[in-house]
Structure formats: C-alpha cells, structure tokens
Subunit: 510 residues, 2 copies
C-alpha cells in the first residue's frame, strides 16, 4: 500500500476506535449502567468524543490527508492508488471537510446546548409544556442555520444539513419524490378508510409471556443470520443498534406484555440494521469502506426486514404456526389471515413511531416541511406547535390532543438532528427498490421465505449492499441494483397491490 | 484553590477518566461482550490505556507537576496549600516517579509480553504443561528484575516491586510478620488435624437454585449498604470488583449450583471491596484523595466482610434462618452449628483460592519465598515447579498432583504481577486489626450484627477508612485506628480463639 495512505489509515483507525469506545459507553448507559452515575458517564463520553474530534480536525490529520488529496478541492492524487483507495480518500475528504468547516467553539457550544436541550425535552414532553423547550429550540435552529452557512450549499441552507445524513441528497430531490408520494398516499388512505374492512389490531390483544417473546425474537434473529458470537441483544427503553467493530454489533429491543408486535417488528428492524454492520469488511475498519453509505441506506435494511419481509404473507406462512406454538395456544383463535391483517392495519394516528406503512411517510413529510421552514424561512420555534397541528390535519386528517403527542413527540430536534427525518422515508423507498431487485435476482425468493429460508436474501444483501461499504454512493448503488434511480413509484405500486388485496375491493384498485 | 494545583487536577481527572473508560471496556469484556470481538476489544483497551499513560508521563504533566513539587526529590512547595493538598501532591509525585522511571519502550514490551503470556498460561494450565509457559515466565522475571532496577530500592530488588502494590512495604517487614505467623499457623493446623473433630463441608452438598442464590446474595449486599443506584452485580468466570467513579462501582460473582458458599462468600468479599470504592470522596475524583490506600488495605475490607463478619457466629445467627427459608427447607436438617462448622472447616489443600482462614496465608508465604528467589536470587523459571512442590510439602504438608493445580494455578506471574501476593496476607492482618478496633469502638457490635444490623460497622468503616482516600498511609491508618503498627499477633489470637472453640479441646488451646 501507498505509504502515505497507510499512515493516514492508521490515524483513521485510532479516531474510529475512539468513536467505538464512546459507543460502548453509550450502550452501557442505555442498558446496564446504574442510574446514579449519569453525570460521570456523560463526562466520559464527552471526553472520548472530543479526543476523537480533535484528532480528526487537528494539524497531523490535515497534513497526512494533504499528502494524498488536494485539500481545497478534494481532488485525490491518484498516482499509484487503486480505485477503491481513491473512493476511500474521496469519502474521507468529504467527512473531513464537513468536520473542519465548523469552528471548534461552535461544535462545543452546540454539543452543550443539545445535551441540555435533550433533558429539557424530556421534561417538556412529560409536562406537556412546549414553552419549556421553545427557547432551546430557538437557539438550536439559529445555530443549525449557522452550521449550514459554515458548511455551504448550492440552493438552500437546509441542503447542507440533509447532506450530513444523506450524502448527495437535496431538498429539491426530496421534494420531487414527495410530490409524487404524498397525493398517492393521501388517496390510498382515503380509499382504505372508505372501505368497510375494519383494521383489527385488537384481535392480538392479550398478555404475552416475556421470555417467550424473547425466545421467538431470538429464533428470528438466528434465522436472519445475525451472528451471536459477534453480537448480542439486550433491552432498553428505546430500541437501537450499535456497532463497535464488525465483530461486535449489538441490538436492543423493547418488550411489552400486552403488545407482541413491539418486540416482533422491533427485532426485525434492528436485526436488519445489525446484519449490515456485521457484514461490513473489517479489513477496512476505520475507513469509509467499512462504513454504511448513509442513514437512508441503513434504514433501507431495517425496513426491508421489518416491513417487506416481516409484514409479508410468505414470512408469516412459515412463522405464524411457530408463533402460535411458542405462545402455546394463546393465538389459536386467530387465523393467519386475521394475524396478517392485524399487523398490517392502516389507521392515521398522531404518533410517527406507531404509524403503519401507508401513513408513516406522511409524518415524515410534515417534518420535512417544518424543517425547511425553520432553516430556510426563519420560522420561530414558538410557531411550531400551531404549524404542527395544522399540518397533521392536512397530511393525516388527525389532530394531536396535546403537544406531548404532537410537536414534542420526537427527540430529534432537541438533539440538533434537523435534516434527519427524511432519511426514514428514503429508507422505505430504497428498501422497497432493493427488495424488488432481490426478488428479480433470487429465484423463487418469496417461496423460499415461505419455507423459512431467510439466508438467500441475507446473502444477496451482504454481497450487493453490505460489503460495499462507501465504495459506492447511494445513487450508484440503487442504479446498479435496480437499473434506475431512487423513485417513489415502486413503493406506491407495492402499497396499492398489498393494501388493495388486504382491504378487498378498494375503489380504484383493480 | 491554588491555580497551579487546579490545572494539575484537571489533567489528573482526564487521565483517571481514561483509566475508568478502559475499566468499562474490561468490565464489558468479562460480562457481556460477544466472544468474537476479543481482538477488537483488546485493541480498544490498549489504545485508551496508552493514551492515559502517555498523558501521565508526558511533558505537559511534568511541567504542571513541577510548578508544585520539586521533581527530583518529591518535596512539595507548600506555600499556600492545605495539608490534604500537600498529601495529594506527595502521592501524585510518588505515582508519577514510578511511572516515569520506566522507559516507554520497556512498558510497551512488558505489556505485549504479559498479554501473550496470559494466553499461554491458560493453555499451559489446561494442558498441564509448565514447559509452555516457562520461556515466557523466564522473560517476565528478567524484565521485572530490570523494572526493579529502573525503580530503585534500598535493600533488595523485590522491594521495588512490592512497593508498587503496597506503598511503604518491604521484604524485611514482611519477613518479620511471616516469621511470627508461619510457625503459629503450622502449629495450629497440626493441632486441628490431630483432633477427631471432622471438618464437614460436605453437609452442605446439595443442589441450590441459582435464582435463590442470587436473591440471597442481593439481600446481603443491600444490608451491607451497597448502593445499587451507584453499582450493580453481574456474573463472570472470575469474580471481581471494578470502579469507574464512586458513582459506578460494580461487582461480579460466580455461581455454582452444587456449592452455595462460592456465591455467598464471593458476594461478601466483593461487597467489601465495593463499599470502599463507593464511599471514596468524589469531590476529589481523579486525585489520590479519591483512591484506595493500597491493595492490602483494599483486601482488608473484603476479608473483613468475608471472614470476620461473614464466617462469624453472630452473622449466621441472624442470616442462617433466612438462608434456610430462602432455600425452602433444603437446609432444615443442618443445624446452625453444623453450618458454622462447615463454612469454617480447616483442611490443608493445594489450591490457594479454596483455602480456609488458617491455611490461606501459608499459600502466600510460599509464593513470597519463590518471588524473592525469582527477583533477588535469579532462580530460573524452569526450577519453579520443583520448588513449588517442595514448598507445598514444607508449608502445608500436601503435594499437588500436577502443575495445573500447583505452580500453574494462579494467573498473577504471567500478568507480571510479582510482589502482589503478599497483599492478600496483609489484607487478612489489616482486616482483623480493623475489625478488632471496630469492636472496641462500636458498642455491642457483634450483638448488632446478630440482629442483622450491618450498618453500624459500615458507617465506621466509611468514616474511618473509606473516606480517607490516600490522605493517610497504611501505616498511619492502622496506628491511628488500632493504637499500634501492623502485627500478626491479633490474627493469631483470633484464629486460636475461633478454631480452639470450634475444634473443641485442641491440645494447647485453653
């Protein structure tokens, strides 16, 4: 290997290892840490992350990178480099440019502000008092506008923020997708609501043994190919996947005795994320070639398993008898069809995380509009609740009873994560396109799934997506695998087919 | 506060936080980490510890320390400092001098050697093949001799190593203690073996429910005052206590269904360590005033709870009926007296960690002799097995069946921990002296314990020992609390009393 590249990669490994260490500290914080040590732990995490950041933006890294890349333009000195090494350096420069564009004091101030704002958000939501959060949010919005200015953008400041979560994505591209998606979804919801087919998630309401839920989830994870010698599952208040290295990728799930679906689909979702991280090429650990492409691509993997596999007929054809058996007779009165309908019930609601496949993206579009208003149009934080409630009526036809289940429901903005929400919808769209491609390329995929073979799909994902790392962009990946760009059409088609069939003769669906 | 001191303490906090972070990584490694990520984790721990070490021995710390202490002599510039600040600096200089006395390359080489030797030791013990370990041990002994030379010493090189674990302790002082202790122990064991009172640990042999063992242990921990909002208990192959901050002090225990005493006394032992760490004064976190005095003083706390409280009649007067109840009748046929005799059975054996109160220190004295031979007299590693077996016969009258249960039984030497073993006996002696002092100073202490009041003792320990940190040396502490120096006499007297009573009319005991 090029000697300068070798030096750079060694330093990148250290920076990544420090981030991994911070991730271990965070994992412990969310799973096993005794509550009394919250402050000590926050100090530890902050120390490690600041060390990692300091090395990344420091003079040594800059010098090392400058031996391989023209720093002002990002042009890689290709001399004796292999193509994947060139891509490695392009992606590294991209991350480095974003990190160094922000003044150190600005980063520190934003970190302190958002750490405090998250605590305030918890209080505000608990007390249903948006006024508590408003001044913090006002300041966050202002700083995120400054951040956009530091980072630079072509069209609108919001683009600079989106690009941090979904490289290459812009407001305009999202708007094109959403302009197709929104009317189709609103129309489909309207037609579903007009049928006399009742969504009946309540047929599943009973008391489910926690150990049996855990065991069933673990069976699915094993079948998916989640490697438990290089990962583990625990419980936490909010489910997540975290990775310290491809050899240590952990998920958490949440259990409720009265709601089987929480652990069921939560496990599939996090399992999808985890397969991605476990399959990254650890030879490149510390570099972009051992990193996921974007949040949208990551979410495509969780959504693919949660929805396109996990809420499908073939999947439950195999697993439903096993589920019934695991809960020894509790579900005997519920047919496969009833179960399938229950886990695919469509009903507009106020809370994003509880939304079904059809309405989910409408929640995202509302947030996309509000985020543009915050960042591009300088809307005041205090105007958000009214805009939120109005938007909920327009997009979903429902009105939150209060701000706690309205504008205060998500932690993202208080974390400073503005521009993040669209990646959820991107995940849904990418995920569907990838699943369709897999169906095209794997013979009899759904028959295989219906026989409990999840391995064929996993191998396809591993080979075509997971092992790629950031050697391809999201756009390159989707074009190569599906023959076309990111599009809302396949998703709309999928929903029309699935819910047309499920809700019987919906007017307008053949 | 003195501005220079403030700057120094800030830097010490960062160094300590890094050590804490490494301790979290190690805790996770021993409890929950998936096995496949051993290598990635070793790299993380090594990175963090090397960063911590580099800061401690680096030019910035040296400069900062030099504004407060004369570096060549350790003389503190007392100007406007409070007495505890002077002590803080004396202890800091002591640690710094030891750390900077060793060349960086030497520290790195020893770390690599001992990391590898620990793996080899595991293999060697499993295969009962000392020859595998011998070349590593030879190299370790040689490097530890070099280490002693780097560190310096007055009498013999071994002193320099002992001082790393037990500041102020020397070979000569230990020899004086052991010269008193050894004949008394050998004599007592001989007399016990001559009685016809059978030690009957086998009366406890049965199958104990694991959950009940866990619950009972947790009850005791709560009664001891272990704060579970600032700590937690888990399971690991080898029990240990670890601390990341006084607000996060964790213990692990080991369970065996066929041996109740393992979890019982393991819990008391680790609980004793944990109370010490939880009670350190966190205002001084990062400095010696928020650190334990020495390994011997630490062990005094675990041994006090494990043996002087935990193997006493008053303790079991209260807890035995509760133990019987917890194991719903399983122990109904075993009287309190039988139980007490069983958990205090004396029998020379080959394995240190399974030894009783009377024979335990004989195991340590053998190791003390061999360590002196290694470091002072250049004995070859290959001679150790023969010397070990000969020593076991001389000290304990038993002979290991093989090296796995002989010279290979402990991990310490392969870790480079030479000079560590004596602190176990020091812990036994200090612990007894402290417990006697507590009995003098707390009215009716044993009656209180017999009524389930462990809080009076805990508060006394907290106030007189735990909160002191390193503001006193071990010698100062024992003199202040007991009116005299460290001594083997009280321990011998305790054993004579306890085992004279237990084993009936032992010849020579009134």
């Amino acid at each position: 290997m090029n000697r300068n590249l070798d030096i750079l990669i060694r330093e990148m490994r250290i920076i990544t290892q420090l981030r991994s260490v911070a991730a271990v500290l965070s994992w412990d914080q969310e799973t096993y840490m005794p509550p009394g040590s919250a402050r000590a732990r926050a100090n530890q995490i902050s120390l490690i992350l600041s060390m990692s950041h300091a090395r990344f933006i420091g003079p040594d890294f800059r010098h090392s990178l400058s031996t391989l890349v023209d720093l002002p333009t990002g042009k890689v000195f290709e001399d004796d480099l292999a193509p994947e090494e060139v891509r490695l350096l392009e992606m590294t420069w991209r991350d480095w440019r974003r990190a160094t564009a922000l003044p150190v004091e600005f980063v520190g101030e934003l970190a302190r502000l958002t750490a405090e704002a998250q605590h305030i958000w918890e209080q505000a939501r608990r007390k249903n008092d948006f006024g508590l959060l408003a001044p913090y949010l006002e300041k966050i919005i202002s700083m995120k506008r400054d951040e956009a200015d530091y980072l630079g953008y072509d069209e609108v400041p919001y683009d600079a923020l989106i690009d941090g979560y979904e490289p290459g994505m812009t407001t305009e591209k999202l708007q094109v997708l959403f302009d197709t998606l929104r009317p189709a979804l609103v129309d489909l919801v309207t037609r579903i609501q007009a049928t006399d087919v009742a969504a009946r998630p309540d047929v599943l309401a009973r008391d489910y043994d926690e150990a049996a839920q855990q065991e069933f989830g673990m069976d699915i994870l094993r079948d998916m190919g989640y490697d438990l010698t290089r990962g583990r599952r625990d419980h936490s208040a909010h489910p997540f996947t975290t990775n310290f290295h491809p050899s240590d990728v952990r998920i958490t799930t949440r259990l409720r005795r009265d709601d089987l679906t929480l652990s069921l689909f939560g496990t599939l979702h996090e399992g999808g994320h985890a397969l991605y991280e476990q399959a990254l090429n650890e030879d490149y650990f510390g570099t972009p070639l051992c990193e996921s492409i974007s949040l949208g691509i990551h979410e495509s993997q969780s959504r693919l398993w949660e929805n396109y596999v996990g809420r499908s007929r073939p999947f439950w054809k195999y697993y439903y008898p096993r589920l019934q058996q695991r809960f020894s007779g509790q579900l005997n009165g519920v047919s496969l069809q009833d179960f399938y309908a229950a886990v695919n019930a469509v009903a507009p609601s106020t809370v994003r995380t509880e939304a079904d496949e059809v309405t989910y993206n409408l929640h995202i579009m509302l947030r996309f509009e509000l985020e543009q208003a915050m960042i591009n149009d300088s809307v005041a934080a205090s105007d958000l609740p009214a805009r939120w409630n109005k938007g909920m009526e327009e997009f979903l036809g429902v009105r939150p009873q209060n701000d706690a289940e309205g504008v205060l429901q998500d932690i993202h903005w208080s974390m400073g994560a503005i521009g993040y929400f669209p990646t959820y919808t991107l995940g849904n769209l990418y995920g569907l396109q990838f699943y369709e491609a897999a169906k095209d390329q794997i013979a009899h995929l759904e028959e295989k799934i219906a026989m409990g073979d999840l391995g064929s799909l996993r191998e396809w994902l591993r080979e075509n997506i997971h092992q790629v790392g950031r050697a391809k962009t999201a756009d390159e990946l989707v074009r190569e695998l599906t023959g076309g760009p990111l599009s809302a059409e396949p998703f709309i088609h999928y929903l029309e087919q699935k819910y047309g069939e499920l809700y019987g003769a919906i007017s307008g669906i053949n």
